[in-house]
Structures are given as structure tokens and as C-alpha cells.
């Protein structure tokens, strides 16, 4: 898990960036009673051994899917989303170094949890799914924070 793959994740400024746009983003979510990340406490059941793989999968989920499907016109919000997206890109690179040392193994638990999240996403129209996932960034960031106790700023 991530304990063996400790990476320097400066989560604090990402949380700050998200807090500044959270209300606006969540207000745009047309399906308030539906969730993508927190269905049946998906993330909370992830064991330390699977944290690295799950972090890698969720970073990819946001970088390759969510940020792409979301089109933002407001410059203030665009700047914050850009800050988060580029920080996730940096975190992916850091995790990739870890992977090269073969400490980021993916077991079925992480793979299945990731599949649930993608399936939840695909049940919605792409833009709605993207805005909802952006609104749930605090769920992911809190989970990263909890699982990176040793390294956050």
C-alpha cells in the first residue's frame, strides 16, 4: 500500500483550491441524491495494501475522464480546476516512480472498487457525471489525506 510507497503529496493547497469552487460546482450538480465516489462507502473499505493502486486509479479517473469531460467558462473556476488537474498530474508522476519500484500492486479489491466508480460515472451523461465527480473531490482528497498521514504538508 501507500505506506511502502510514501510520496510527498502537498494536499493542502489542492484542498484550498477545491474549497474555493466547491459551492459553485456542487450547485451545478443536477442529481444531488446520486453519488459516484461514495457509493456503499467504496473508498472507506480500501485496505492500506490497496491504497497506492486506488490512488493511482482515481488520479487517472480524474485526469483522463473528469477534467476532460468538464467544460468550464468561468476563469476563476477554470484556474482552480487547472491547479487541481496539474497537481494530480504531478502526483501521477510521483506514483509512477513508485510503480517502477513495483510497490503499487493492484489487487481485486482496488480493481473492483475502481470499476464501481467508473460504472457509476458511465450511468450519467458525461457532463453531469463530470460536474458530480468534481463536486465529490473532497471525498477523494479526504481519503488521500487519511491515507497519507505521514506525508501531507
Amino acid at each position: 500500500g501507500l505506506r511502502r510507497c510514501l510520496i510527498s503529496m502537498d494536499i493542502h493547497h489542492i484542498e484550498e483550491a477545491f474549497q474555493e469552487i466547491k459551492k459553485t460546482i456542487q450547485a451545478k450538480d443536477p442529481f444531488q441524491n446520486v453519488t459516484i465516489l461514495s457509493t456503499s462507502e467504496t473508498l472507506h473499505r480500501i485496505k492500506p495494501l490497496d491504497v497506492c493502486c486506488m490512488t493511482k486509479n482515481l488520479l487517472a479517473f480524474y485526469v483522463d475522464k473528469v477534467f476532460k469531460d468538464h467544460q468550464e467558462l468561468n476563469p476563476q473556476i477554470l484556474r482552480k480546476i487547472s491547479s487541481i488537474a496539474n497537481s494530480f498530474l504531478y502526483m501521477q508522476k510521483a506514483l509512477r516512480q513508485c510503480q517502477e519500484q513495483r510497490q503499487c500492486h493492484c489487487r481485486d479489491e482496488a480493481t473492483n472498487a475502481t470499476r464501481i466508480i467508473h460504472s457509476n460515472y458511465d450511468q450519467l451523461e458525461a457532463r453531469s457525471a463530470a460536474i458530480k465527480s468534481l463536486g465529490e473531490l473532497d471525498v477523494f482528497l479526504a481519503w488521500i489525506d487519511r491515507n497519507h498521514q505521514g506525508t501531507s504538508a
Binding site: S8, D10, H13, A17, V63, D64, F67, K68, P75, L78, R79, S82, S83, A85, N86, S87, F88, L89, Y90, A153
Partner: protein, 204 residues
């Protein structure tokens, strides 16, 4: 109608995680030139290359420089571009030749103030912002003295390092560490203070 020339000689000067984009001014006699700065992080250039984001402070700006510190918020390469406008005229974009990454910032030895408060060795460090930690090394100035190290995260407020012995001299040096880029500055020059009175064994 003369075409408005694009700004030239773009460069970034970055010191202690403050990043300043600069360029040569465009001159049109009798006119005020406004500049617009935009940026693209690696994410945008990889996945959304058509997306350029207006700089937080320089869309527009009058001077031939722009503080992009609040825009460059991740340790990835950033593309930067500038164009000039006067009235309805707009120049072409000029783009920074090489993407800028904040991990290239110049880290300078921090400014410190070493003082005595009675027998207490106290240090005050400049406030360089939330991304900076300070590694403070201090020792008693005598052969073979042990070097003590303290990591200081608080900024701009006095920090107690230790209790000194009468008649002894103590020295301090400090450097910064920026976790976001995983680099530290060189050490500052050592500064020493001496406590009045007789010399006794060290009790630090």
C-alpha cells in the same frame, strides 16, 4: 494600418517561489499599451491544448511584467504567452520559448535575526510564505561542539532555540526547505552571539 508588434524577449525570473514573467515593452508613441497574459499547465497542453487560462493578475496589465506566482501552482511545466493591445488593435501572441517549472526557482539563504533574551538563544526568521520550512542548526562555539538541529515551520515570529551558558558563544545558521519542489536553499552565513559572565559546561 501598422500591425501592433508582439511583445519580445519573454523570460521568467523566479526566486523563493515568487515567479515573475517579463518581456520587452511594446512602444507606440502617445499610446498606453495593455498586455494580456495567459498560461497553460502541462495538463492543458497534454489534454486540452486549445485551452489557455487568463492570468490571475495580468489580463490586462500595463507594465511589461506579470507576477504569475498564483497561476503556477503545481510542480509541472507551464506554457506562458503574452500579447499587446492598444485601442482595438491586438498583437499576435508571444509564447515563452521553454515551459517554466517552479522547481527551477532560485532558493536563497534566508534572512535571520539571532538574539539573546537573557540566557535564551532566540532566532527570528523572515516570512517567505506557507511553502517554506526552515532547518536551523546551532552550536556552542568551541572545539568539537555538537551541532543541534531544529525544523521551524512558524514564520516571522521569534523561536527559542536553547538556553545558553554564561560566558559562552553560540552560533546559528539556517536554510530553507520547500516540500512542493523537494529542494532546499544553501545555508546562511553563521551568526554568533556571546553571553556575558563566566564560562560553565554546556547544558543545552
Amino acid at each position: 494600418v501598422a500591425i501592433l508588434p508582439a511583445p519580445q524577449n519573454l523570460s521568467v525570473q523566479s526566486t523563493n517561489m515568487k515567479h515573475l514573467l517579463m518581456w520587452s515593452p511594446v512602444i507606440v508613441p502617445g499610446e498606453i499599451i495593455y498586455y494580456f497574459v495567459e498560461y497553460q499547465g502541462e495538463y492543458e497542453s497534454l489534454y486540452m491544448s486549445h485551452i489557455w487560462i487568463p492570468s490571475s493578475w495580468c489580463s490586462p496589465t500595463e507594465g511589461p511584467e506579470c507576477d504569475i506566482t498564483d497561476d503556477v501552482t503545481a510542480t509541472v511545466p507551464y506554457n506562458l504567452r503574452v500579447r499587446a493591445t492598444v485601442g482595438a488593435q491586438t498583437s499576435a501572441w508571444s509564447t515563452l520559448q521553454h515551459p517554466f517549472n517552479r522547481n527551477s526557482t532560485v532558493l536563497t539563504p534566508p534572512v535571520m535575526e539571532v538574539t539573546k533574551d537573557g540566557f535564551h538563544l532566540v532566532i527570528k526568521l523572515e516570512d517567505l510564505g506557507p511553502q517554506f520550512e526552515f532547518l536551523v542548526a546551532y552550536w556552542r562555539r568551541e572545539p568539537g561542539a555538537k551541532e543541534h538541529v531544529k525544523v521551524v515551520k512558524s514564520r516571522g515570529i521569534p523561536v527559542h532555540l536553547g538556553t545558553m551558558e554564561p560566558g559562552a558563544a553560540y552560533c546559528v545558521k539556517v536554510r530553507t526547505f520547500v516540500k512542493a519542489i523537494g529542494r532546499h536553499s544553501p545555508f546562511s552565513q553563521a551568526e554568533c552571539v556571546k553571553v556575558q559572565g563566566e564560562t560553565l559546561p554546556l547544558t543545552l
